[in-house]
């Protein structure tokens, strides 16, 4: 072999070596970058109880602990305003006949009334006198008599709420914002988070979810599992969203059984009894917490056919589960059914 050929072969081999090393380095570096991007930001988790339910706050990024604490304060503050059980709360004052001027409350009532109208009164925030009778989850949980329900139903009428300036209701009415309070808390939390430098947060206020920002540099979607309505220790499936609000209403969360019949806590404001639709679980994905919360309740009460129409009217995404456990996905949702 000539010297020139020998040198060429040697150079070629060296080039192969160098190229291989560079290729390996590039692969290693790429994998490192991907791994780092997939790795979640520093996080902080806090659980607590407020609004009569379980709160879970997971914050991601810098100084996450103080922000999680601030979120808990926001929820507690809202509870002090809208809980009808708390003496001195704004809603308690309204229920005692006072006129209350509060921007938050006017916003809530206005949005509630719109959904009440669009659901033909199936959802109604003036259901307080009926829900007090049933007292689901309370110390006086019971099956009220027909007469009691009939009497209490006379007070249910959202059109009688005055929301111009001050909020006040008619004599005998009781305001119960339980069906939207958790979702509205999520709205307030989002407002707060948008003023901070937090990377991301996912918050559950009694199962009403706010997914905000990102948990890692790769900006992977949040994965939100839906509780299976009929199986313990199981999920129906998982929703994947970049940001937004998710609420679920089901007949399994708060209920009691009497004479072999299950009485769940989602009351139909038109009958005063637990809703008897063909649905056992409704999950709504929306861009507003109050809407997602109110619509999950309203759609549950209305049933699959009218519920679907309502969901489409509000342009929200939904997952309906009927009594035969058939799952209907409405709208474009990244939803994976559990195996």
């Amino acid at each position: 072999m000539s010297l020139k050929k020998q040198i060429n072969t040697k150079t070629k081999n060296i080039l192969i070596c160098v190229a291989s090393v560079i290729a390996v380095a590039a692969i290693v570096f790429s994998i490192y970058i991907v791994t780092q991007n997939k790795k979640d930001f520093d996080s902080y988790t806090k659980n607590g109880i407020s609004m009569g339910t379980v709160i879970t706050v997971k914050t991601y990024g810098n100084t996450t602990a103080p922000k999680a604490e601030a979120i808990m304060s926001i929820i507690n503050g809202l509870d002090d305003t809208i809980s009808w059980r708390k003496e001195g709360s704004a809603v308690s004052k309204i229920n005692n006949g006072e006129k209350v001027k509060l921007a938050d409350l006017s916003t809530i009532v206005s949005q509630c009334n719109t959904i009440s109208k669009d659901s033909d009164g199936a959802f109604d925030p003036t259901i307080g006198r009926v829900s007090t009778l049933w007292d689901f989850g309370g110390e006086n949980e019971r099956l009220p008599s027909k007469e009691e329900i009939s009497e209490a139903l006379k007070t249910v009428d959202y059109t009688k709420i005055n929301k111009n300036g001050s909020v006040y209701i008619s004599d005998g009415q009781l305001l119960d914002l339980g069906a939207i309070g958790k979702g509205y808390a999520c709205d307030l939390i989002k407002q707060y988070l948008s003023t901070t430098d937090i990377e991301g947060a996912v918050v559950s206020v009694g199962g009403s979810i706010l997914a905000y920002g990102n948990r890692n540099k790769a900006k992977d979607n949040w994965r939100i599992a839906i509780k299976h309505p009929r199986k313990d220790n199981a999920f129906l499936g998982t929703i994947s969203i970049d940001e937004g609000f998710v609420s679920t209403s089901g007949d399994y969360e708060k209920y009691f059984e009497k004479d072999g019949k299950r009485y769940h806590h989602i009351l139909d404001a038109r009958t005063g009894y637990p809703a008897e639709s063909d649905l056992i679980s409704v999950t709504i994905v929306a861009e507003n917490g109050l809407k997602s919360d109110a619509l999950s309740t309203a759609c549950f009460i209305l049933g699959s056919e009218k519920g679907k129409e309502l969901a489409e009217l509000y342009k929200v995404k939904a997952i309906f589960v009927d009594k035969d456990e058939n799952v209907d996905v409405i709208g474009d949702i990244d939803f994976e059914l559990s195996k």
Binding site: I16, I49, V202, F235
Partner: protein
């Protein structure tokens, strides 16, 4: 021996020992490194290590990894009047001084994201995992 048996004037067989580099060696090296990286990355995944965390009045008061509990072992602890049982299979509330007993009626929890709350006693026990596929649960 002819020229084709030589590289740089050295027999090829000998060259393998002298330089220790061949294309197939490089391929083996690359594959080995990739395998090592895969093992390294998957090493972060420490399996389904679910831990139970207990909050009382908003404060974290107890943590226990379920995988650290023996199969036939039951750990019972009292948190503000709420007796919680921890086993390798799950967690449940055995007794509570609360009036409605909803926490006691709730079945045991054993998957990440589940929780039992005793609202009157302000106690929450939930299951968490760092290797979970879910961020939160809607219910």
């Amino acid at each position: 021996m002819n020229y084709s048996d030589l590289a740089y004037g050295i027999p090829r067989n000998q060259l393998r020992y002298e330089l220790g580099i061949k294309r197939c060696d490089i391929i083996i090296l690359v594959v080995s490194i990739l395998l090592w990286i895969c093992l390294f990355v998957s090493g972060d995944d420490q399996g389904d290590n679910v831990k139970a965390v207990v909050y009382s009045s908003g404060q974290l008061v107890y943590e226990k990894s379920l995988s650290q509990i023996d199969e036939d072992e039951q750990i019972t602890k009292d948190f503000n009047g709420v007796k919680i049982v921890f086993t390798s299979e799950g967690v449940w509330v055995e007794e509570s001084t609360c009036p409605n007993q909803l926490c006691v009626k709730q079945s045991s929890i054993n998957i990440d994201g589940e929780a039992i709350a005793c609202i009157p006693q302000r106690v929450v026990v939930s299951l968490e995992s760092e290797t979970t596929d879910i961020d939160i649960v809607t219910y």
